[in-house]
C-alpha cells in the first residue's frame, strides 16, 4: 500500500478499528515510512490534547434533582430503589475488575461471574424469564441451553426464585438462576463441568461481591451476591446440600 492509502487508515489504526490484516499492513508501513510515522504521532498528540481538556460532570444539584425525580420511591419498590442507587456506584466497579487474562483459572471465572452478575444489575436485566406462577423457569432454560438442565428448585424460607436467564461465561452459554433474599439478588450460574470429581464449596470475595463455587452432579455452580459470605454459605444453594425440593417445573 502507498502512503495515500495508509494515511486514510491511520485514524482507524490508532483507534483499534482495523481488522488484524490491515492493522499489520499499517504497522509495517509506518515503521518504514517517516511521513506516516509523523502523521501517526500527530494523531497521538491531538488525542493527548483532548485528554487534557476539561470534563464537565453533572453538578451535584442536577444529580440530586434527577435522582430524586427518577429514583423517588413509590412505596412498594422502596428497597429496589435503594438497590438501584447503589448500582450507580457499582457500575464503576465493572471497569476496574482485574483483566481476566492475568488470573488463575478459578479466579478468572470468579471475575467473570461477578462481571456478569453486575452487568445484569446495572442494565436492570435480571432475568429473561420470570418465575411467575409455577414451572416456568426450568423448561424455558432447558430449551435455550446446549446441555441437559434438570435442576431442582432450591427455594426455601427467605430464598425465592425470581427468574432465569442465559448468560455467557468462560466462552460458553450458561444457565443463571436468579434468587432473591430480602433486597439482595443472588445469581447462581450453572454449566457442565469439564472435570468430573465433585468439589465442596469454596468462597471468595471479588470487588465487594461474594462468590461461592462448587462442583456437583457434573455441573459447575457459582453463586454471586452482595450478601455476606457467611450468609451466602448458609443458603441451601446447591441441591446436594438439601433433600430434593419441589423441582423448577416439568
Amino acid at each position: 500500500m502507498n502512503c495515500r492509502e495508509i494515511e486514510r487508515l491511520l485514524g482507524p489504526y490508532r483507534d483499534g478499528e482495523l481488522d488484524p490484516e490491515r492493522s499489520a499492513d499499517v504497522a509495517v508501513h509506518q515503521r518504514n515510512c517517516e511521513d506516516c510515522r509523523a502523521a501517526l504521532e500527530r494523531l497521538e498528540q491531538l488525542s493527548a490534547a483532548i485528554e487534557s481538556a476539561p470534563r464537565y460532570p453533572a453538578s451535584p444539584e442536577l444529580r440530586a434533582r434527577l435522582e430524586s425525580r427518577f429514583a423517588d420511591g413509590r412505596q412498594p419498590y422502596g428497597r429496589w430503589l435503594l438497590l438501584a442507587a447503589g448500582l450507580a456506584a457499582a457500575a464503576l466497579v465493572i471497569g476496574r475488575l482485574t483483566p481476566v487474562a492475568d488470573l488463575r483459572p478459578q479466579d478468572a471465572l470468579a471475575n467473570e461471574v461477578v462481571r456478569a452478575h453486575l452487568r445484569s444489575l446495572v442494565v436492570g436485566h435480571l432475568w429473561d424469564v420470570a418465575a411467575s406462577g409455577h414451572h416456568t423457569v426450568k423448561p424455558w432454560l432447558a430449551a435455550k441451553l446446549d446441555f441437559p438442565f434438570d435442576v431442582e428448585d432450591i427455594s426455601s424460607r427467605g430464598l425465592l426464585l425470581a427468574g432465569g436467564r442465559v448468560d455467557s461465561v468462560d466462552g460458553r452459554t450458561v444457565a443463571v438462576l436468579v434468587y432473591r433474599r430480602g433486597g439482595h439478588v443472588i445469581s447462581v450460574f450453572v454449566w457442565p463441568a469439564a472435570q468430573p470429581p465433585d468439589r465442596p464449596p469454596a468462597g471468595r470475595s471479588v470487588h465487594g461481591f461474594n462468590v461461592i463455587d462448587w462442583r456437583a452432579d457434573g455441573l459447575n455452580w457459582w453463586a454471586v451476591s452482595d450478601l455476606e459470605l457467611g450468609e451466602l454459605n448458609e443458603l441451601p444453594l446447591s441441591p446436594c446440600f438439601l433433600p430434593a425440593h419441589e423441582t423448577l417445573g416439568g
Partner: protein
C-alpha cells in the same frame, strides 16, 4: 416481582449522567443550556424507555442527549457566543507556577480549539476521545452510517489540529 419501570430506568440510565452532561456541555458550550438539555433528555428517555432493550444504556442515552442538543442548537442559532467561565484544572497540579501557567494556557487553547469547531465535529471528538466509544457505538449514537462516522472523525481531527495550532499561537502571543 420484576423491578419496577422506574427502578429499571434508574439502574440503567442514571449511571450515565456525568457522560450525558459532558456531551451536552461540549455541544451547547453553556452550563445552563447543558443542564436544561440533560434534564429534558432524561424525561424523554423515561418516555421512550420501553424501546430500550437493555443492550447499551450509555449509547442509548447519549443518542437522546445529542438529539436534544442539536434541536436546541437549531432553535437558537444566535445564542452561540461562548461565555467566559472559570474552569477547574483537569487533574495534574504541578507545583511549579511557571509550568502551571503554561499548562493552563495550553488547556485554554485546547478548549478554544474544540469550541471553535462545528458541533458535529465537536461531537465526534468528544464521543471518540473522551468517551472512548467505538465507531460502531458512535454510529448508533449519531444515527449515521459507519462510513460517515469515519470520514467525519477524520475531518474533525484535521480541523481540530488547525484550530489548536491557531489557538496555541494566540495563547503564547
Amino acid at each position: 416481582m420484576p423491578l419496577s419501570r422506574h427502578a429499571r430506568f434508574a439502574a440503567a440510565i442514571l449511571p450515565h449522567l456525568d457522560r450525558a452532561h459532558n456531551l451536552a456541555r461540549w455541544l451547547l458550550a453553556n452550563r445552563q443550556d447543558a443542564e436544561d438539555a440533560v434534564q429534558d433528555s432524561y424525561l424523554r428517555a423515561l418516555t421512550y424507555f420501553d424501546s430500550f432493550h437493555g443492550r447499551d444504556g450509555r449509547a442509548w442515552l447519549l443518542a437522546i442527549v445529542r438529539n436534544t442538543c442539536f434541536e436546541r442548537l437549531r432553535k437558537n442559532r444566535r445564542h452561540l457566543e461562548l461565555p467566559v467561565e472559570h474552569i477547574e484544572l483537569a487533574r495534574d497540579t504541578s507545583p511549579d507556577p511557571e509550568a502551571l501557567q503554561l499548562q493552563l494556557a495550553d488547556q485554554a487553547a485546547v478548549r478554544r480549539g474544540l469550541e471553535s469547531l462545528p458541533a458535529e465535529f465537536r461531537e465526534v471528538l468528544v464521543l471518540r476521545e473522551m468517551e472512548g466509544l467505538s465507531y460502531q457505538q458512535i454510529a448508533r449514537v449519531t444515527e449515521a452510517p459507519l462510513g460517515t462516522v469515519m470520514s467525519r472523525l477524520a475531518r474533525a481531527r484535521r480541523r481540530f489540529e488547525e484550530a489548536l495550532a491557531a489557538a496555541r499561537k494566540e495563547e503564547t502571543a
